[in-house]
C-alpha cells in the first residue's frame, strides 16, 4: 500500500510535541474546533453501549459525528501500523451508527500516518483523521465521507419493514382462518366419501357373490373389442383391428 499522501491535507507542521495534559484537553480542543463550524452536542439519545466505544459525540445538522482519540505511544512506524490498524477496525464498527467517524492523533504521528495508512481504504469505510498539535491547533488530515444510510433513515426503513411485516401477518391470519374453515368443510366431505365408499364396498361384495354364479362372457367382450377399435393406417395388417392392442395399452393401469 502506498500510504495516504494523495489525500493528506498539506500545511501541517511536522516535529510537534504533545503538550496536552489529558484526554479532556483533547476533547475541549475538538469541541471548540467543530463548534466554530456549527456543530453542537448531540440532540438524540445514544445508547450507553455505543457511548462507551467513543470519546466524543457531536452533531452537525442531521449528521452524528463520533471521535476516538488515539492513545498509543509508539516509537516506530511498524509499531504505529499495528496500533492504528486496530484503531481503524474499532472505528469501522462505529460507521454503522454514526454518519462520520474521526480518529484523533497527536500531530507527532502525522509522518508515520502518511506512510502506513491507506487513505483510499479509510475513504471507502467513511473514517476521517484529525491531527492535534501541542498548541491545540486542529487539522483535518482526512475528511470522512458520510455513510449513505443515516441513522434516522435507517430507523424509518425499519418502521416500514415492521409495518410491512404486520400487514403480512394480518394477511396470513386471514388466510389461516379461511383455510381452517375450508379444512373443516373438506374433512366433513371426506367423512361422507368414506361412508359412501364403505357402502359401495359392501355392494361390490354382494355383486361379486352374484357374479360368481353367472357364466363369464369373454367372447362377447372380444367381439366388442374388435369392432370398437379405430383402424390405424400405419399398422401392419395383422395388427389392425386386433383386440390385444387395447388390452395391452391398458396393462399398467390394470
Amino acid at each position: 500500500m502506498s500510504g495516504i499522501g494523495k489525500v493528506w491535507k498539506v500545511g501541517i507542521s511536522g516535529g510537534s510535541v504533545l503538550e496536552m495534559n489529558s484526554i479532556e484537553d483533547f476533547k475541549e480542543v475538538i469541541i471548540e474546533h467543530f463548534r466554530r463550524r456549527g456543530c453542537t452536542r448531540p440532540q438524540v439519545d445514544i445508547s450507553e453501549d455505543v457511548i462507551k466505544q467513543v470519546d466524543l459525540v457531536l452533531q452537525d445538522a442531521n449528521n452524528l459525528l463520533a471521535f476516538r482519540i488515539f492513545r498509543g505511544i509508539v516509537y516506530s512506524a511498524a509499531e504505529f501500523r499495528v496500533m492504528i490498524d486496530e484503531e481503524i477496525l474499532r472505528a469501522t464498527k462505529l460507521t454503522e451508527v454514526f454518519d462520520k467517524v474521526y480518529i484523533v492523533i497527536p500531530d507527532t504521528y502525522t509522518d508515520m500516518a502518511r506512510s502506513v495508512i491507506s487513505g483510499r481504504i479509510l475513504d471507502e469505510v467513511g473514517i476521517g483523521i484529525i491531527a492535534v498539535d501541542e498548541h491545540g491547533n486542529v487539522e483535518e488530515l482526512l475528511v470522512p465521507r458520510p455513510t449513505k444510510l443515516t441513522r434516522r433513515e435507517l430507523g424509518k426503513g425499519i418502521e416500514e419493514i415492521v409495518g410491512d411485516l404486520r400487514r403480512r401477518i394480518d394477511e396470513i391470519e386471514l388466510l389461516y382462518n379461511s383455510l381452517k374453515t375450508e379444512f373443516g368443510v373438506l374433512s366433513e366431505k371426506i367423512t361422507k366419501i368414506e361412508r359412501t365408499l364403505s357402502m359401495l364396498r359392501e355392494e361390490v361384495d354382494v355383486l361379486k357373490g352374484k357374479l360368481s354364479t353367472l357364466p363369464t362372457r369373454h367372447e362377447i367382450i372380444e367381439e366388442i373389442g374388435e369392432k370398437t377399435l379405430a383402424p390405424v393406417e400405419e399398422l401392419p395388417s395383422f395388427a389392425k383391428n386386433n383386440p390385444w392392442l387395447e388390452i395391452l395399452r391398458k396393462r399398467e393401469r390394470e
Binding site: 369373454h218 386386433n242 392392442l245 387395447e246 395391452l248 396393462r251
Partner: protein, 421 residues
Amino acid sequence: MSDLEKYKLKYAFAEDYGTSYYKFGPVGETPDIIENRGIILDKISIVSKIMGIEKNIIVGPEVATYIGHREAIGRHLVYPMRDGLVEKENERSWRVIYEITKYGLNKHRPIASDFKGFYVAAALSAIAPEYMYRRIFEIHQKIDEETGLVKAVTIIPQPLAVAIAEKSITCIVVESGHGNTQITPISRYPIREAILSLNRGGAEADAITAEILKDCGYGDLAREEKLIRCIKESIGLIPTDLQTSIEKAKKDPERFRAVFHIPNTTITIDLEENSWMRFLIGEIVFDPENEIFESFYRKGMPRPRDTMVGDTRIPGTIDMARAIIMSAERTSFEVQMYLYRKIILSGGNFSWKVPRGLEDAATDAATKIMSMLKKYNIEARVELTKDPMYSVWKGALVYAIAVPDEYEWNWESMEGWYKWR
C-alpha cells in the same frame, strides 16, 4: 396418438428365438429369418485372415459357406437353443445368441435423425427360466451400449404371441417344436399356473421314422438326422383312427404305398407292404402311449421323459387331448368352456399333409385333436395357426407396439419395458 406412441409404432422391433430359426425385424408384414446357429472359430485360419475375416463368430447366411466336413461342423457349429432353452452356463451358446441379436438389429438400423433406439419385444419359450430373461436383457443392453440400437426391451412368452397374432383373447395355445410341446391357456394373460410342458415333439416322430427305416432295411440311412426329417415330412401321416387306418392300409397297400426318392441321389426308399407304418409316424406325436409303440420302446427307442408340474407327475407319453384337458383344468371352472372354444396349434410339429386320395384314413393335426377331445366328451374348436412360421413374430410385434412406454419391467408380472437409459 402421443408422440411417444408414434415413435414406438415407427421403431417397434420383434424377435422370435425359435429353436431352429431366429425371426426378426421392424414394423412390417413379414420378418427376416436366419437359422438360430453360429460358427465359433477358436482360431482364425490364415485363409480367413487373407480373406479379411477378423470375427471369430459367424452368424446369418454366411454360416453355410463355413460349413466344411462333418467333423468341423461338430466342433464349430453351435445351435444355442435346445427345445427353446439355452443352458445357463453355456457361454458358447450365449455368445451366438448375442451375435445373432446384434446381427438382426444392425441389419435394420434406420437412417433417421429421430431414431433413438428400437422398442424390442423378444419372444421366448413359455417355460424359459428367469436366468434366460436376465441374459436376454443383458445382451440387449450391451448391444445398445455398443450401437445405440435399443431403447427398451421386453420379453413375451411365445404362446401369448401366437394368441395375439391370432387376435384371440381367450384360448389355449399348443406349441409343438422339435423336442418340446407347451400347452398354454390364455385369458388376457398367459395363465402361468396352468402351463403344461411335455418333453416330446418332432423328435419322437423322427425317432420312430428311423426305427421304421431300420425295420424296412434302410438302417444305413437311419443315422442322417436331416434325411430322417425329410423322410418323415414326406411319408408320415396322421391316422384318423390308428386301428382303422392301419387296417385300411394293410388291405390296400398299393394305395397307401410310401415311396421317397432322395433328391440328387440314386436312392429310393420304398416301404412296400410295410407302408401302413407311415401312420405310426403321425400317431406318436398325439398318442405315444398307444400299445403299438411298446415294442419300439423295448427295442431302445427313447420313451418321452415325464414332466413334473408342481407336485404332479405328467407322464411323457400322455396323449395330447388328455394333456390339454389337464392344463385347462388347472384354470378356473368358468373360463374352461371358453378356452375350449379356441385351441390354436402352432409349431412345425403340427404341419402334416393329407395326400389326395387318402382322406378317409389320414387327417390334419387340428381334426385329430378335435376327435381325440371328443373321446373325453369335450367339444372343442381346434385350428392351426394361420401363419405357423411367423405367428410368434407377428404377435411379438403387436406386443411391442401396444405395451405403453411408461409400463416398466415388473419381475412379478413378467411384463413391461426393461430400460437402462
